[in-house]
Structures are given as structure tokens and as C-alpha cells.
């Protein structure tokens, strides 16, 4: 089996592929936003107020404020993951959209890059919606929270790239259940979305610390509190590494799948 390991060859037409997805999204905007937001919003409000009423302050803030930073990251990850799994798989495999785009002067690398950036773009929208809710509820007023927006983009690219690896390997939609059961769910529970990671046994803490979501939360949580995150470069570096390695791996696997 030969693998094409060359770096991505991108042309300006990749923007047109991104734009195609935007046009579809504009038609289905309301259900799409609802789908991406309902889940994280109700988790944040329900657990934030419900469990929050039973909880002491964490990090010196009410539980719902603690949960808010986790929810931003969770919503961003969720949105990028769903788009790069189910929607990208539909376009690649079910509707053959990618095949028809490749008959035009657009390369597969352009398509995979555009799909990843599209999933990241959607995830930024989801993250921003949660951020607006946080502002609206008065959970944070810090101007530092604006830094969450570029962070969402980086997270979006990282989680979209990771999901795209699964899409490249998938035979059907059922395959994605493995990804959720074996990676997404453990990651959400081990990365400090709902409770501080320090409450976990050391082994689980170590696993959590290797996962990208925990690094995103280590950046997002101080920003919500109005503080500059510690070890910001380390966390950004880990996220960037997941993004770059994930994207290259996805690209190599999609090339193998569609161009051989």
C-alpha cells in the first residue's frame, strides 16, 4: 500500500468548497444551531443551577461559572466533531459531493482542508453562542473572554481534524459510535468539563492531561475568570499539535481512500 505523504497542496478554490457548505448551512441555520446548542446549553443551565445549588464555590467562583468555561469547550468540540463526522461523511460517501467537486478543477486536499475549516467555523459559531449566553447571564464580564474566540477556532480545527481521521476510515455512520464511546465521552469526563481534574485518581488525571480537551479548558477557564492562563504556550502547542498531526493523518487516509 502506497501512501501519499506529501504536504497539503492547496489552491484558492478551497474557499469555494467552504462557501458551498456555508450556503447549505444558511438554508438549515435554525435547526442546525439548535442542534448544536441545545445540548450544551441545557447541561450548563441544568447542572450549573441544579448541582450548583449543592456545591461550594470552586476556584472561588460559583459552580455555574466554573462549568461555563467547560461548556464553551464542550460545545465547540461537539459541533466540530459532529460536522466532521456525520456531515463530512455524507458529503464524501453518501452524496458523492466530493467526487463531483473533484471533477472540477479542485483537488482533494482543497476539499479536506475546506471541510476541516468549515467544521471549525461552525464550532466557533457554537462557542460564540455559549459565550453570549455567559455574558448575558453575567457569569463573566472580563474583556479577556474575547480571547476565547481565537481559542475556539484552534479547538475547532483540532477536533475537526481528529474527527476527519475517523471519517476517512468509516464504512458507515455506525462506525462513529466507537469514536464517541471510546474517545469523546471519556475525554469529556476526564478533561475537567464538569469538575476539577484534580478530583480524579492520578492515573485518570494523567490520561486526561494528554487529551486536547483538557488543554483547551486550561486555557478557557482562567479567561472566563478574567485571568491570563498559565502555561498558555504549552496548551496552545498541544492543541496545535493535535490539529496538525490530525489533519495530516486525515489527509493521508482520505487520499488513500479516494485517490487509489
Amino acid at each position: 500500500m502506497r501512501l501519499d505523504l506529501t504536504p497539503p497542496r492547496l489552491t484558492p478554490s478551497c474557499f469555494q468548497v467552504w462557501r458551498r457548505n456555508l450556503l447549505v448551512w444558511r438554508k438549515l441555520m435554525v435547526p442546525s444551531l439548535l442542534g448544536n446548542l441545545a445540548d450544551p446549553t441545557f447541561y450548563m443551565l441544568g447542572l450549573g443551577f441544579g448541582i450548583g445549588a449543592l456545591m461550594p464555590a470552586i476556584d472561588g467562583v460559583p459552580y455555574i461559572t466554573f462549568l461555563a468555561a467547560g461548556t464553551i469547550c464542550y460545545a465547540t468540540m461537539n459541533s466540530a466533531t459532529f460536522e466532521a463526522l456525520y456531515s463530512a461523511f455524507s458529503r464524501m460517501h453518501v452524496q458523492r459531493t466530493w467526487d463531483s467537486i473533484m471533477n472540477a478543477p479542485v483537488g482533494l486536499d482543497d476539499i479536506v482542508f475546506a471541510e476541516t475549516m468549515w467544521a471549525a467555523s461552525k464550532s466557533v459559531l457554537s462557542g460564540i453562542a455559549i459565550l453570549l449566553l455567559i455574558w448575558l447571564l453575567g457569569l463573566s464580564h472580563s474583556p479577556l473572554t474575547l480571547w476565547l474566540i481565537p481559542l475556539m477556532l484552534l479547538m475547532g480545527v483540532a477536533f475537526a481534524s481528529m474527527a476527519m481521521v475517523m471519517t476517512a476510515l468509516a464504512g458507515s455512520y455506525d462506525f462513529f459510535m466507537y469514536y464517541f464511546s471510546l474517545l469523546v465521552t471519556p475525554m469529556v469526563l476526564l478533561s475537567g468539563v464538569f469538575y476539577p481534574i484534580s478530583a480524579l485518581p492520578p492515573l485518570l488525571q494523567q490520561v486526561g492531561a494528554a487529551l486536547p480537551l483538557s488543554h483547551a479548558i486550561d486555557l478557557a477557564r482562567p479567561l472566563v475568570y478574567g485571568r491570563v492562563p498559565e502555561d498558555a504556550l504549552l496548551h496552545l502547542g498541544v492543541l496545535a499539535l493535535y490539529a496538525i498531526v490530525g489533519f495530516m493523518l486525515a489527509l493521508i487516509l482520505v487520499r488513500r481512500r479516494l485517490l487509489e
Partner: protein, 301 residues
């Protein structure tokens, strides 16, 4: 327009394309015929630069492929085998979005859409959803989409598979019009009547090789006697035992039917009229006879 020289491609040790030479002349409709698995679609994918050949050279509209495949595809139109229209868009939006992939401005595509819809017989369907179109309409829209960049060369992969006779004739009519306007067409098909009607020249592919090439008339004249009698029903065996040796004909038995290929059908017909229960059909030889002679009667799955 399109040239392939000694092109080869293997998958897992099996040579799917085993040394193909092709040279399309401007303004002709060229057919690639072959049973399933003969290498037709792989040849198209090679010509599009989607896969790289193991050996040989490919040029599309003067561009070396796959090295400059993107530049070649800019001037190319493709109608794929499976409909890959965008179900989330209307008919007109499908054309608009596809035009963007060619770097066309929206204003330029908008100006072209009415003409494309008229060509496809979809004038009143611009705002329709894809799900509301019939199979024939979808295929015509796929054809219109392939023309959005006003291509010099068109690839069509089994353009009428799965369509009813009316829809097929409509597609054929449009393809003839395109050739009339000076476009060059490469078409794959396994319908012999389609190839005979549309193609100026064609190649018969089997096991990744071109086993015959020429105009439909040439191929029939070269490979097969001009007349065919198909014999079937009761008594064929006895009749053949009695007469076959005396008739200047070539016989081939396929299942229940015996094909009898001959230069002059009259003596055999005179005998057959007295043959009673046996049934027969007389017809001129066609491309299908050539095809079956060259590729055999075995089922290809």
C-alpha cells in the same frame, strides 16, 4: 484533445488498465465499450488525473496529467456515472455552486444558467429541489452542470444507464447537438445501440486492454458476417444436424439460442421456412455481435 500512451494501472497485483493507447480527434464522439470491470471507469479516472498511472503518458487538452490535472480539468466537463447533484440546493443553485469551483464569477454563471437550463429541458425547474426531479431530469441536469465552464472536451460515464427509452433518446439528442457544436466527447457505455448511434469511433475494452478499435461500421465489417439468424425453440438441434454442414455459415450456441452468422441469408431462410416448429429471427449484424464475439458470452459480475 485526449491522448493515452501505453497507460497501465494495477490494483493489488491485478492490472485493471493493461497498456491502453487512445487518441481523440477534435469534434468526435469516441466510445469506450466494455463489460463490467473492463477498465472503463479506471481509464476515465486516469484521464481526469484522480489517480496516477503506473506507466505511460496521458495528455488532456495538451496538459500532462496528472501533473497538471487541475489545469486540464478547468477546460473539461464530466458527467459521472452516479448522480452526484447537491440535494440541499435547487436546480439553479447546483449550477451556480458548480460554476464557482471553476473560478467563475457569480454574474458569469447567472448569465449562463438560463441557456444551460434550456439545453437540459429544465427551463421551468430552476427553483425546483433535486428530490422532485425524475431520473432523466437529474441526468440532464448533470449534463448541464458539466457544461457550466463551456468545456472543449466532455467525459460521460454511462450517461444513460438506468433511464427509460424516452429519457435516453433525449440525452442522445443533446449529445449529438454538442458534437454538432464542435465539442469532443469521450463516453463509456455498455449499450451497443448507444455506441452505434452516437460514436464516430470506439474502442472495445476487455481485461484492461483495447481489443478492437474503429468506426462502428468498420468493426462490424471487420469482425462479423453481415447477417445473423437467431434460431431457438423446438427442433433446432435436428435442423442443425441436417443442414449446418451444407450452409456457408458460422454457428455459435449460447444457452437456448443458436446464432448463425452468414454472408448470404437467402439459402438458409429458404430452408428455414420449411422447418416447422423451430423459431428464428433474421437481422443485420450489429455492434453487439462484434462485442459478444470479442468479449465472450460469459456473465461479468
Amino acid at each position: 484533445m485526449l491522448s493515452l500512451q501505453g497507460v497501465r494501472k494495477s490494483y493489488g497485483g491485478r492490472e485493471v488498465v493493461a497498456g491502453i493507447d487512445l487518441d481523440l480527434r477534435p469534434g468526435e464522439c469516441y466510445g469506450l465499450l466494455g463489460p463490467n470491470g473492463a477498465g472503463k471507469t479506471t481509464t476515465l479516472r486516469l484521464a481526469l488525473g484522480l489517480i496516477a498511472p503506473d506507466a505511460g503518458a496521458i495528455h488532456v487538452l495538451g496538459e500532462p496529467v496528472p501533473a497538471r490535472a487541475i489545469a486540464a480539468r478547468r477546460r473539461l466537463g464530466v458527467v459521472p456515472q452516479a448522480d452526484s447533484l447537491d440535494p440541499d440546493f435547487t436546480v439553479a443553485e447546483n449550477l451556480l455552486v458548480y460554476g464557482r469551483y471553476f473560478g467563475l464569477r457569480d454574474s458569469a454563471v447567472h448569465a449562463r444558467i438560463p441557456g444551460l437550463l434550456a439545453f437540459a429541458g429544465l427551463e421551468t425547474r430552476g427553483a425546483a429541489r433535486i428530490a422532485s426531479l425524475s431520473g432523466g431530469m437529474k441526468r440532464r441536469l448533470s449534463l448541464a452542470r458539466a457544461l457550466v465552464n463551456d468545456p472543449e472536451l466532455l467525459f460521460l460515464d454511462e450517461p444513460t444507464t438506468g433511464l427509460d427509452p424516452q429519457a435516453r433518446h433525449l440525452i442522445w439528442d443533446r449529445l449529438k447537438r454538442l458534437v454538432g457544436r464542435g465539442r469532443t466527447i469521450l463516453l463509456t457505455t455498455h449499450f451497443m445501440d448507444e455506441a452505434e448511434r452516437l460514436c464516430d469511433r470506439l474502442a472495445i475494452l476487455d481485461n484492461g486492454r483495447i481489443i478492437a478499435q474503429g468506426t462502428p461500421e468498420q468493426l462490424v465489417a471487420e469482425h462479423i458476417e453481415p447477417h445473423v439468424l437467431e434460431l431457438f425453440g423446438e427442433g433446432v438441434g435436428q435442423w442443425l444436424d441436417a443442414h449446418a454442414a451444407r450452409l456457408p455459415a458460422r454457428f455459435e450456441k449460447v444457452g437456448e439460442t443458436t446464432f448463425c452468422y452468414l454472408r448470404d441469408p437467402l439459402p438458409a431462410l429458404a430452408e428455414l421456412r420449411q422447418a416447422g416448429a423451430m423459431r428464428y429471427l433474421q437481422r443485420p449484424a450489429n455492434l453487439e455481435d462484434v462485442f459478444l464475439k470479442l468479449t465472450g458470452h460469459d456473465l461479468r459480475d
